[in-house]
């Protein structure tokens, strides 16, 4: 069974992010880049499906500039077999729909039985690509999955998606798209052997023209980025615990009207 995992390279959660000279973009100087954490759950799950079935291929794919190769290399080190890098200036500033269209085109070429994504990338936090891919491909999708099981024949996947108050379990005929939620698995760390092996694995550049796509204006565009307005200065309530607690309750009731 061929599985494709779509990943995104994002700034590390602990990294400082500042508005760049072009106020629609961030200043990328000094940023540490990582594979978006939810995408690691997707990679891990794809590898587990392959290992459980004892055969198959896991292909990592990502869209973005040259630096994205590093993120793809991490996926190869975890155990993905090869990688595709959608690397073309035509995709600069791609919104979720333009990204989904590019990914859908590469999926039509690769013809995997299953596509896994993370629930959202932790940079723009849209969480839209999974469902948009499913729509463009005409496939079913399940978002925020906590469990999955592909049947022995490789024709159906049973997925449990997290919803308010519980889990909803569905059978999806393959091919299908799934989005991983935290809790699906615990991603492995690449072994030294994996890291060495990854250097020999293929990362193939894919251009828009290879997919029969041209430059496409984004449907959603950023007008500007701003730093979050600072919160008004807070107040440390002094005094022994009973006194401080009484004052807190009074302030919450009378000043903040929060209770």
């Amino acid at each position: 069974m061929k599985i494709l995992v779509a990943i995104k390279q994002v700034p590390d959660t602990a990294t400082q992010v500042k508005v760049g000279a072009d106020p629609r973009l961030i200043d990328t100087a000094g940023i540490t880049w990582i594979v978006s954490p939810y995408d690691e759950f997707a990679v891990e799950e794809a590898l587990r499906i392959k290992e459980k079935r004892g055969q198959g291929e896991v292909v990592a794919v990502s869209l973005g500039p040259e630096r994205v190769k590093e993120a793809l290399r991490s996926c190869l080190a975890m155990g993905c077999d090869r990688a595709l890098h959608l690397n073309d200036a035509a995709w600069n500033g791609a919104d979720t729909l333009a990204t989904a269209r590019a990914l859908a085109a590469v999926i039509k070429q690769e013809q995997p039985q299953l596509v896994l994504c993370g629930r959202q990338a932790i940079d723009d936090d849209m969480g839209a690509v999974t469902a948009q891919l499913a729509e463009l491909l005409g496939w079913p999708c399940a978002s925020w999955i906590m469990e999955e099981a592909v049947d022995a024949e490789g024709t159906t996947v049973r997925a449990a998606r997290q919803v308010e108050g519980g889990l909803e379990v569905f059978d999806l005929p393959l091919p299908a798209v799934l989005a991983a939620q935290k809790g699906l698995n615990e991603p492995r760390y690449p072994t030294l052997k994996g890291i060495m092996g990854a250097k020999k694995k293929e990362i193939r550049d894919v251009k828009a023209a290879d997919l029969g796509l041209g430059a496409e204006p984004s449907q959603l565009s950023v007008v500007g980025l701003e730093a979050l307005p600072p919160r008004p200065p807070g107040r440390i309530i002094q005094g022994d615990v009973p006194t401080a607690v009484k004052e807190l309750v009074r302030a919450l009731r009378e000043d903040a009207k929060a209770i």
């Binding site: 919104d95 729909l97 729509e135 079913p140 308010e164 935290k182 449907q219 959603l220 440390i236 929060a258």
Partner: protein
């Protein structure tokens, strides 16, 4: 006629719209860009629910009531909604950030070939276009975004937009359009309910209590739950506490958990790691209790107490009880 602003109804699956709909309808009304209409996809609407939508300001309810719409499946809902949108050409389509709608509107936007702005915290008309504001990069920055063409599709973060004030007696015209449902591809197997804590759902709660590493172990969350019962709060946890296995992941607040925006957030033994702040920094009032005066959470807290949470929590529960019993 100016084309309409649609609000997709999130309901309790029993025929009643959820309170977040008052927020979505209120936000759409305040834009003043066109008539505000609700679109309700359900297997079972109720008269009370339709009345409620009218009182919250929907001039019209497009009611798609069909047994085939339960349980929710994106391929069915998006198809039906796209059909109706093609007939009626709304100017905007708004949803709430819920498990169903965040997926539904993404699928819908792809089908309509338009932009999607998810998890918006503000909306404004700028002349003839809509501009949405949304947190990005773990809430370190906010982005203002706009659409190349309509309909403008967006989801709104719960608890952020001021709810519409109910206008008793105001009614919505109910239309039952002829829309054919695409066949369901996904087969429903089962729904597994979580063991109920008897406390509100994290993302819907107006008050959220959160316990971090300082809770010392899973057995101690009971003191937070006791407080939760007194003030009607949900109880969540930081990533450190979830990763330690003290709380199930569904209780995690933060960048790799739930994003919350309650009226009041109370953090106990939470240090305030950047990824936790990402999930709660749009809370209206933030209270932090931590032994460590240097904990980063104090930088964003409106009220802080530097003390041992195990002394503060029982005392605070007692004081809340006294206050609310008055």
């Amino acid at each position: 006629m100016a084309s309409a602003f649609w609000c997709i109804v999130e309901d309790d699956r029993q025929g009643a719209p959820k309170k977040v709909m008052a927020e979505v309808l209120g936000a759409a009304s305040r834009l003043g860009g066109g008539p505000v209409e609700a679109v309700w996809l359900t297997d079972k609407a109720s008269d009370a629910g339709l009345k409620q939508l009218g009182e919250w300001g929907a001039g019209k309810v497009w009611l798609l009531e069909n047994a085939g719409l339960a349980p929710y499946r994106s391929e069915v809902w998006a198809g039906a909604l796209a059909d109706l949108a093609a007939q009626q050409s709304p100017r905007a389509i708004f949803g709430a950030v819920t498990s169903r709608q965040r997926e539904l509107v993404a699928r819908l936007a792809a089908r309509l070939g338009v932009g999607l702005a998810a998890d918006c915290v503000a909306l404004a008309m700028n002349g003839d276009t809509l501009v949405a504001t949304r947190p990005v990069y773990a809430g370190k920055l906010i982005a203002r975004v706009t659409w190349a063409k309509g309909p403008w599709v967006a989801t709104l973060r719960p608890n952020v937009f001021r709810p519409a004030e109910a206008q008793p007696g105001k009614t919505a015209a109910v239309e039952r359009p002829a829309v054919s449902l695409p066949p369901a591809v996904m087969k429903f197997v089962e729904r597994r309910e979580e063991v109920s804590t008897g406390l509100p759902e994290l993302t819907e709660a107006e008050i959220v209590i959160s316990g971090g590493r300082g809770m010392k172990g899973p057995e101690n969350y009971v003191i937070l739950e006791d407080m939760g019962r007194v003030i009607g709060a949900a109880v969540g946890a930081s990533r450190a506490a979830v990763d330690a296995g003290w709380r199930p992941h569904r209780f995690q607040i933060g960048q790799t958990g739930r994003t919350i925006s309650p009226k009041l957030y109370l953090g106990f033994g939470v240090s305030g790691a950047i990824q936790h702040l990402a999930g709660m920094r749009t809370s209206k009032i933030i209270v932090a209790v931590n032994k460590d005066a240097e904990a980063p959470i104090f930088k964003i807290a409106d009220y802080g107490i530097v003390a041992d949470l195990f002394e503060v929590v029982p005392e605070l529960t007692k004081e809340f009880k006294k206050l609310l019993e008055k």
